[in-house]
C-alpha cells in the first residue's frame, strides 16, 4: 500500500497515542480516512457519515467496513435469497423452529428433539494456509451450531480442488484434510459425510465447505439477542489477539506508523491458528451454561469478531449496549480499538447474562478453565456504545451495522456463450461398443480421481466417536442415532455437480438438491430440510450473478416441489482466479429423519449371493 498523500485521521492531532474518539471525530470532519483500502465504496462511506452525522471514528470505520463486506452483509445476494422465503409455504414451515436469519436453521425432528445444521465456506483462507484455514473453518461452523443451544454431534466436509495431478493440489489437499481431521477429531465430532471433487476451475481457488449438525431439545433453542437492561455482556473462551485482522491492518499501520519496525504490523497475517482443545472445552462449558439456565442470549464470534457479535446481539435485542474494550482479555500488546473489534481470534463466544447469574456463570467457566470476562451491559438507550481508555470510540445504531447495510441489485446477464456450451451434446461423443472397450472405460472411470476411493481422505477422520454413528463413509448419506432409548436418528448428505450447474444453473441446483435428497432417502430416512453453501465467482460479473440468481431459483423451486424448506445457508462470492470464475457450485445439504436407526439401509450390494439388482427411474 502506498502512503496516502492526505493527512491521515490518526495523525490529525499529532500524537500517536491519541484516541480517535467520537468527539475527536466530530471535531475533525475533514480528516482523510482509508475507507477504500478497507473495501468501502465512496457512497457507502458517505452513507456511514450520513447515519452518524459526522465522520466515523477509526473503530467505527473498522466495524462498518467488515460488517458491510459481502461476507457479512450479503449485500449482493440478499435480493435473491428472499426468494427462498417466498417459495416456502406454511406447510413446509410447520417443522421449522428457526430459519433463515438465525445463526443456523432448526428443525423439529419429533419426540421433543430438534436438529440444527448449516454449511459454511472457508475457501480463501484454506488456499493461503490449507491446514489452519480448513481447521478454523470447522471451528467456525461448530460455534454457529453451539450458538443455537445445540450440542454439535457431527461434521461433514464438501471439498473441491484443482486437478489431482497439479502440484498445488499436493500442497492444498493434504493440508485441508489434516486441518479438518485434526480439528474435528480433537473436538470429538464424527465426520459422517462430504465430497471430494477435482476440477481445473478450482486450481487457485479450492472450496472448503464445512457442515456441522447439532442436536437439542426443541424447547431449548438459544437466540442471539441482547435483552434486559442491566444484563451483562460476557466474552468467554480464548483471548483476543492480532490474528486474522486482515484489512484492518490498514488502520493499524496508520496508527502505529511510528514503530513499524517493531511489530511490522503492516504485514499482519490474515491467518488464524485454531486451538481445537479450547473449542472442545468451550462446547462443554456452553452446554453446561445452557443446562443451568444461565444464558439470556448468546452469539459466536466468527468473521468480524466482536464487531459482529456486539452489533448483532444489540441489533436483535430491545435496547442498546455498552462495551468497555479495556476489559477484553488480550493476547497481544498495544492493540488499538479497531484491532480489538476486528480480531478474528478463534474459539470465543459472547453471552448475555442476568446480573444475578454472573457468579454462577463464572463458576461454570472456572470449572472448565475457560476465561470469561464481563465486558459490558445491555442499556436502555438505542445505541451500541464502546469505550476505550475512558473515551467513547463507538456510538452507533447497531441495526445500521448489522442489518441495514447496503443492498445491491447487481446487474445480471445470461452470457451469450451459454448457448454455445449447451449446444454440444453427448451424441457427438464416441461410445464404447465392444466388451473390451466397455471394460477399458470402466477401469478408466474407476481410476479417475473423481470416482476413485476416498479412503485416503476419510481414514483420517474419526467417524466412531460418540458411539452414535450408524452410517458414515462410504455410505451415500451419514446416519446418526440421536436417542438411544427410542432409536430415533437423523441422516445428512451434501451434493453438487458443478458441471451440470455450469450448463444450466437452474437445473444444476435442482439436481444437487435431488441428489442429496436421494442420498438421504436411500439410507431409509425421510428428508425434512435443506441447507446450502452457494460458492460462486465475482458478484460484479453479470454472468456470475445470473448463475447465482438461477441457482437460487432452481433450489427454491425444487425445495417447494419436494415440500422441504431451505432453513439456512451461506453465500461465498469472489471465488475466481483472475477473471475466470469457478464452476458455479451451489452445495446442497439435506437433513433427514429416521424413526428407528436399526432399520437403516447400508450402501452396497447385499451380503447374500443371489440377490437381484433393480434399476429404478429412467
Amino acid at each position: 500500500m502506498t502512503e496516502t498523500p492526505h493527512e491521515s485521521a490518526a495523525r490529525a492531532d499529532g500524537g500517536s497515542e491519541r484516541v480517535d474518539s467520537t468527539e475527536h471525530a466530530a471535531r475533525t470532519p475533514e480528516a482523510a480516512q482509508p475507507y477504500r483500502e478497507l473495501g468501502l465504496a465512496d457512497d457507502e462511506y458517505e452513507r456511514i457519515r450520513g447515519i452518524l452525522g459526522r465522520r466515523p471514528t477509526e473503530a467505527e470505520l473498522a466495524m462498518y467496513s467488515v460488517m458491510w463486506s459481502e461476507h457479512c452483509s450479503y449485500k449482493s445476494s440478499k435480493v435473491h435469497l428472499k426468494y427462498f422465503g417466498e417459495a416456502t409455504t406454511e406447510q413446509m414451515r410447520s417443522k421449522m423452529i428457526a430459519g433463515i436469519g438465525e445463526n443456523a436453521g432448526v428443525v423439529d425432528v419429533g419426540d421433543g428433539w430438534a436438529v440444527t445444521f448449516k454449511v459454511e465456506s472457508h475457501n480463501h483462507p484454506s488456499y493461503v494456509e490449507p491446514h489452519q484455514g480448513a481447521a478454523t473453518g470447522v471451528g467456525g461452523i461448530v460455534r454457529d451450531i453451539m450458538a443455537m443451544g445445540a450440542r454439535p454431534v457431527a461434521v461433514a466436509d464438501p471439498l473441491r480442488f484443482g486437478p489431482a495431478e497439479a502440484t498445488d493440489t499436493a500442497r492444498v489437499l493434504p493440508g485441508v484434510v489434516e486441518g479438518i481431521g485434526g480439528y474435528g477429531n480433537c473436538l470429538g465430532l464424527p465426520n459422517i459425510g462430504g465430497e471430494v471433487v477435482f476440477d481445473e476451475s478450482y486450481a487457485s481457488n479450492p472450496l472448503v465447505n464445512a457442515m456441522c449438525v447439532g442436536v437439542l431439545k426443541s424447547d431449548e433453542v438459544q437466540l442471539a439477542h441482547a435483552s434486559g437492561t442491566g444484563n451483562k455482556v460476557i466474552l468467554f473462551g480464548a483471548r483476543t489477539g492480532l490474528d486474522g485482522i486482515g484489512g484492518v491492518s490498514v488502520l493499524a499501520s496508520e496508527t502505529f506508523s511510528g514503530d513499524e519496525t517493531g511489530s511490522g504490523r503492516k504485514k499482519l497475517p490474515s491467518v488464524q491458528v485454531g486451538d481445537p482443545f479450547t473449542e472442545k472445552v468451550l462446547i462443554e462449558c456452553c452446554l453446561e451454561l445452557y443446562r443451568s439456565g444461565l444464558v439470556v442470549g448468546v452469539q459466536d464470534l466468527g468473521g468480524a469478531g466482536l464487531s459482529c457479535a456486539t452489533s448483532e446481539l444489540a441489533s436483535a435485542g430491545d435496547g442498546g449496549m455498552w462495551i468497555d474494550l479495556d476489559e477484553v482479555p488480550l493476547r497481544a500488546e498495544g492493540m488499538n480499538p479497531a484491532e480489538i473489534l476486528s480480531s478474528e481470534s478463534q474459539e470465543r463466544m459472547c453471552a448475555i447474562v442476568r446480573p444475578t447469574d454472573v457468579e454462577g456463570f463464572m463458576e461454570v467457566c472456572r470449572k472448565w478453565d475457560v476465561t470469561a470476562t464481563v465486558i459490558g451491559e445491555v442499556t436502555d438507550g438505542e445505541n451500541l456504545r464502546i469505550d476505550w481508555r475512558g473515551e467513547r470510540v463507538v456510538d452507533v445504531p447497531p441495526r445500521t451495522v448489522a442489518d441495514e447495510g447496503p443492498v445491491y441489485e447487481r446487474p445480471l446477464q445470461r452470457p451469450a456463450e451459454q448457448d454455445l456450451i449447451t449446444a454440444d451434446n453427448p451424441d457427438t461423443l464416441a461410445r464404447p461398443s465392444t466388451a473390451e472397450e466397455l471394460r477399458e472405460t470402466l477401469l478408466r472411470m474407476a481410476a479417475s480421481p473423481n470416482l476413485c476411493s476416498r479412503d485416503w481422505v476419510t481414514s483420517q477422520y474419526d467417524h466412531y466417536v460418540r458411539g452414535n454413528t450408524v452410517l458414515a463413509q462410504p455410505s451415500d448419506g451419514g446416519v446418526l442415532r440421536i436417542d438411544e432409548e427410542s432409536g430415533r436418528g437423523i441422516a445428512v448428505a451434501t451434493d453438487c455437480n458443478a458441471r451440470y450447474t455450469r450448463l444450466d444453473p437452474y437445473g444444476g441446483a435442482q439436481l444437487a438438491l435431488a441428489e442429496a435428497y436421494r442420498n438421504v432417502a436411500v439410507t431409509g430416512s425421510k428428508p425434512v430440510a435443506v441447507t446450502n453453501c452457494l460458492n460462486f465467482g465475482s458478484a460484479e460479473d453479470p454472468a456470475v450473478m445470473w448463475q447465482f440468481q438461477q441457482a437460487v431459483r432452481g433450489l427454491a423451486d425444487a425445495s417447494a416441489e419436494l415440500g422441504i424448506p431451505v432453513t439456512g445457508g451461506n453465500v461465498s462470492f469472489y471465488n475466481q482466479t483472475g477473471s475466470s470464475p469457478i464452476l458455479p457450485t451451489p452445495v446442497v445439504g439435506v437433513l433427514g429423519v429416521i424413526d428407528d436407526v436399526t432399520r437403516r439401509i447400508p450402501t452396497g450390494i447385499g451380503a447374500a449371493p443371489g440377490e437381484s439388482l433393480l434399476l429404478l427411474g429412467d
Binding site: V128, E129, Q132, A238, G241, L242, D243, S263, L268, P269, V271, Q272, V273, G274, D275, F277, T278, R331, A332, S345, Q346, D369
Partner: protein
C-alpha cells in the same frame, strides 16, 4: 559433513496453543515463575560440505517452515 540446526518457531502474533498448554500446566505441577512458553520445532540436518547457506535458507523457508505462520533460523554447528 556439517551439522546444521534449523529452528522453526510460531510467529509472535500467531496463537501458539501448544506453548500455551505447557504454560498452563506448569503451575499445576508446582513449577512457578514461567511466564511464557512457545513451542516450535528443531531440525538437525547432516549436510554435505558443498551445500551453501542460500540452499539451506531455501530448504528452511520452503520446506521445514510454513512462513505464513512460522519464523525460522538456520545455523551451522560443530559436529
Amino acid at each position: 559433513m556439517a551439522r546444521v540446526v534449523v529452528d522453526v518457531m510460531p510467529k509472535q502474533e500467531i496463537l501458539d496453543p501448544q506453548g500455551q498448554a505447557v504454560a498452563n500446566a506448569l503451575p499445576r505441577q508446582g513449577f512457578e515463575g514461567i511466564s511464557q512458553v512457545r513451542q516450535g520445532k528443531r531440525f538437525e540436518l547432516e549436510v554435505a560440505d558443498d551445500v551453501d547457506d542460500e540452499t539451506l535458507a531455501k530448504i528452511a523457508e520452503s520446506f521445514l517452515a510454513n512462513p505464513v505462520i512460522e519464523d525460522w533460523a538456520v545455523r551451522r554447528v560443530e559436529s
